[in-house]
């Protein structure tokens, strides 16, 4: 191991002044966002809109957690979907087999995911670039194959059948559409807030340094392997939260949740929204789901339409939408100040 062991991320001086202020500002924004989302059911009777936001929560948590790896740490994981699937399956199986209260199953799922992610991460994060991408993909296929083959436990390719029980806890009834909606929004906002804290913390800046120059980070005394492993496990936890929201939405878990196409969608969402801004993946999620839902309404040749959109972003903008907007805005502001 070449990394220097001495010291850790906490030795770095706070990067920004007034972090505390920023933290409160973030909490305030999160509260407002939650209030706006939670009041939606009062304003509209559209169940489809609520379904849309629930799905946005699931995919948004997943895609933003992937961005912690791709955008902040430079770890392009092709197998991040395994934790989405793992979250959905762990939660579903615990609820079906043990019948514990929902919060217990939620925490247990996070513990299981953390354990699995720690083992897989310990092997993967030693590798760089394409090797990292391929080994994560290999692990994903391993988990997917396990789900398919272990039919007596997981239901094989037919998934977890018979519905996932949703017992009432603390007056929250997730079988009720509005309750499920509010709970999903709460998980989304909490997840985003937590991930934003991670990204803005000294640890978050350590990740950026590792992304930009891992050797330098190592010479500065940062244990690169440990930092990468930590963010790998953290990202897995938020992906599993996304998986649980999806399992709650469809009242089941299916092997497709752990298939590579889910990871591919995560990468695509990041490309659409942008990886250099925190909310880029969230914008990408909304864009992709909107595109998907509207295009599939009108044509079964949605593949062509989505392909053209990818081309437009890859060749035309050369970055995600929010990256583009942010740069354009900065450019204009600079030009404005220059006058």
């Amino acid at each position: 191991m070449t990394e220097l062991e001495a010291g850790g991320a906490e030795r770095l001086a706070p990067v920004r002044n007034g972090t505390a202020l920023h933290r409160y500002r973030d909490v305030l924004i999160a509260l407002i966002a939650f209030a706006v989302l939670a009041s939606l059911p009062l304003l509209t009777g559209s169940k489809a809109l609520l379904d849309f936001v629930i799905r946005c929560s699931a995919y948004g948590l997943f895609a933003t957690s992937l961005n912690l790896l791709v955008g902040y740490t430079g770890l392009t994981s092709f197998g991040h979907g395994m934790f989405f699937g793992l979250g959905a399956y762990s939660y579903g199986l615990i609820m079906q087999k043990l019948g514990v209260p929902i919060p217990v199953a939620f925490v247990a799922t996070l513990v299981i995911t953390a354990a699995v992610a720690a083992v897989i991460g310990a092997i993967c994060v030693r590798l760089k670039e394409i090797y990292f991408a391929f080994v994560t993909l290999a692990f994903q296929m391993l988990i997917h194959s396990t789900i398919l083959s272990w039919a007596s436990f997981t239901g094989g390719d037919q998934g977890l059948r018979g519905g996932i029980p949703r017992p009432v806890f603390l007056g929250i009834d997730l079988a009720n559409h509005v309750h499920l909606y509010v709970a999903s929004c709460a998980l989304l906002i909490l997840g985003l807030l937590a991930m934003h804290q991670i990204a803005q913390s000294p640890f978050g800046y350590t990740l950026r340094m590792i992304r930009d120059n891992a050797a330098r980070a190592s010479f500065l005394g940062i244990d690169v392997w440990r930092a990468k492993l930590t963010v790998f496990v953290l990202a897995a936890l938020f992906a599993a939260m996304g998986g649980m929201v999806m399992a709650l939405f469809v009242s089941g878990a299916y092997p497709e949740f752990a298939y590579w196409t889910i990871s591919g969608e995560g990468i695509f969402i990041n490309m659409l929204g942008g990886v250099s801004t925190f909310l880029g993946p969230m914008v990408g999620t909304v864009l992709l789901l909107l595109l998907n839902d509207t295009v599939t309404r009108f044509t079964e040749y949605h593949g062509i339409v989505l392909g053209i959109v990818i081309l437009f972003f890859a060749l035309g903008l050369r970055k995600g939408l929010l990256d583009f907007v942010a740069e354009w805005y900065a450019h204009r502001r600079d030009a404005g100040e220059g006058r």
Partner: protein, 419 residues
């Protein structure tokens, strides 16, 4: 330079947002304005590797819906089908099913999903309480498992267990007549392949106890190259081979096995061969492959069935598939139930459907029944025959006996802990 316009969402996404918003708001109004028609939603697979599942299911549904509409509709209401592509993803199937009911105002669902997608739609039906008829999923557990049972869901599909019982008894009679003792199996490696093969061999050994399975192969679903599998089977030198490969997998397997002249060396039992999607695609269809009937217009040998197959071909320029007749039958059942209930209310239709027997070109005795206790289709024509390389492809089909099927099915359910 200062401009008042703040950069925000791009024009493109603003337009998309506005469009989606307008649609979301407008859709229930549109639904209410057209309340004289009854909308039936149908999620199915219209793209990707098994797109044929969705397109031939859609054709089967539309073929009958047009007839029902021409005859005055369901209890006076014209049917409007809303059919959407789920891409074979269960989460999309669930989303679309919910959207069809919640936004598009569909009162019933016809579920044209296979495997996991059908279970996802089943959960939506459980959640929303909407009437749902499954038309493509052959997984027996969908209706046999009491945990799955809900009063508003029905299955209008053939079943793996029925096929295995009939296949096992047919194969056993051939095995006894020709002295076939050493058998090999070759089936796709997923739940359907494993379960169906297990059940087939179970019943084969029951009817012909001295049969021995000497080789098993489990190629991956959608595997492109079967050389390894074919040579493995040839080396084992079995007297007979069973396979439940289907669609493109089956046709590529046969094309590749033909190179090794496999079909001259053993008797082959391929349950999914006698479907026009496979029969018409294979380059050199070998003579004498034993197959179950999927859809074939020569079985049942009634003028009604032949006429239905020909009319369908005239309309869509291709022969019906197994999914076509199942989807068509679902519409026939719904139409008959609406007539019986004189209503389109989901609950009343569900009551009318339970135990309903209707006349059908696909019935073993000219009728098919929606069995009351597990809401599943029984009495459909089921049998086995051998292939010839040109039309009618499977000239003679030996019909299975429903009395035996019922007895063994009840036994099987007990062994699974379903009853």
């Amino acid at each position: 330079m200062t401009r008042t316009r703040m950069p925000g969402i791009s024009r493109r996404s603003t337009l998309a947002l506005m469009g989606a918003g307008a649609m979301t708001v407008a859709a229930p109004w549109v639904a209410r304005a057209q309340a004289k028609t009854i909308k039936i939603g149908m999620p199915t697979i219209l793209s990707g590797r098994v797109a044929q599942l969705g397109t031939s299911s859609r054709n089967g549904v539309m073929f009958e819906v047009e007839k029902v509409n021409a005859a005055g509709g369901l209890a006076g209401r014209q049917i409007e089908m809303v059919i959407r592509d789920s891409k074979g993803q269960p989460q999309e199937a669930a989303r679309i099913a919910r959207e069809l009911v919640n936004t598009d105002g569909c009162e019933w669902l016809i579920d044209g999903e296979a495997s996991s997608g059908s279970f996802a739609v089943h959960e939506v039906a459980r959640d929303l309480g909407v009437l749902c008829v499954h038309t493509c999923s052959e997984a027996s557990s969908l209706t046999a498992d009491p945990k799955q049972h809900i009063p508003n869901a029905f299955r209008c599909v053939r079943q793996g267990i029925h096929d295995s019982i009939v296949g096992g008894s047919y194969a056993a009679s051939i095995a006894k007549a020709k002295g076939l003792k050493k058998w090999a199996t070759c089936s796709p490696d997923y739940a359907y392949g494993r379960d169906t093969t297990g059940e087939f061999t179970l019943y084969l050994k029951r009817f012909a106890p001295d049969v021995e399975i000497i080789s098993e192969s489990w190629p991956k679903l959608f595997q492109p190259d079967y050389t390894e599998v074919v040579t493995k089977i040839l080396q084992a030198k079995p007297q007979a081979l069973y396979s439940c490969l289907w669609g493109g997998d089956l046709t590529s397997y046969i094309d590749q096995a033909n190179i090794y002249a496999m079909f001259g060396q053993m008797e082959v039992f391929a349950v999914n061969m006698a479907d026009y999607t496979a029969l018409t695609v294979v380059k050199n269809l070998p003579k004498g492959i034993h197959s179950g009937n999927r859809y074939i217009k020569t079985f049942p040998t009634t003028p009604e069935n032949a006429a239905w197959g020909d009319a369908y071909k005239a309309k869509y320029n291709e022969y019906p598939t197994n999914w076509s007749w199942q989807n068509a039958t679902a519409v026939m059942f719904l139409a008959e139930a609406a007539k019986k209930a004189n209503s389109t209310d989901g609950k009343k239709i569900a009551e009318a459907l339970t135990g309903l027997t209707i006349k059908s070109p696909f019935g073993a005795d000219g009728t098919v029944t929606m069995r009351g206790d597990d809401h599943t289709l029984v009495g459909y024509a089921i049998g086995w025959g051998t292939t010839i390389p040109q039309e009618p492809y499977v000239p003679e089909v030996k019909a299975g006996d429903w009395k035996t099927i019922f007895e063994l099915e009840a036994e099987w359910k007990k062994s699974k802990g379903y009853t």
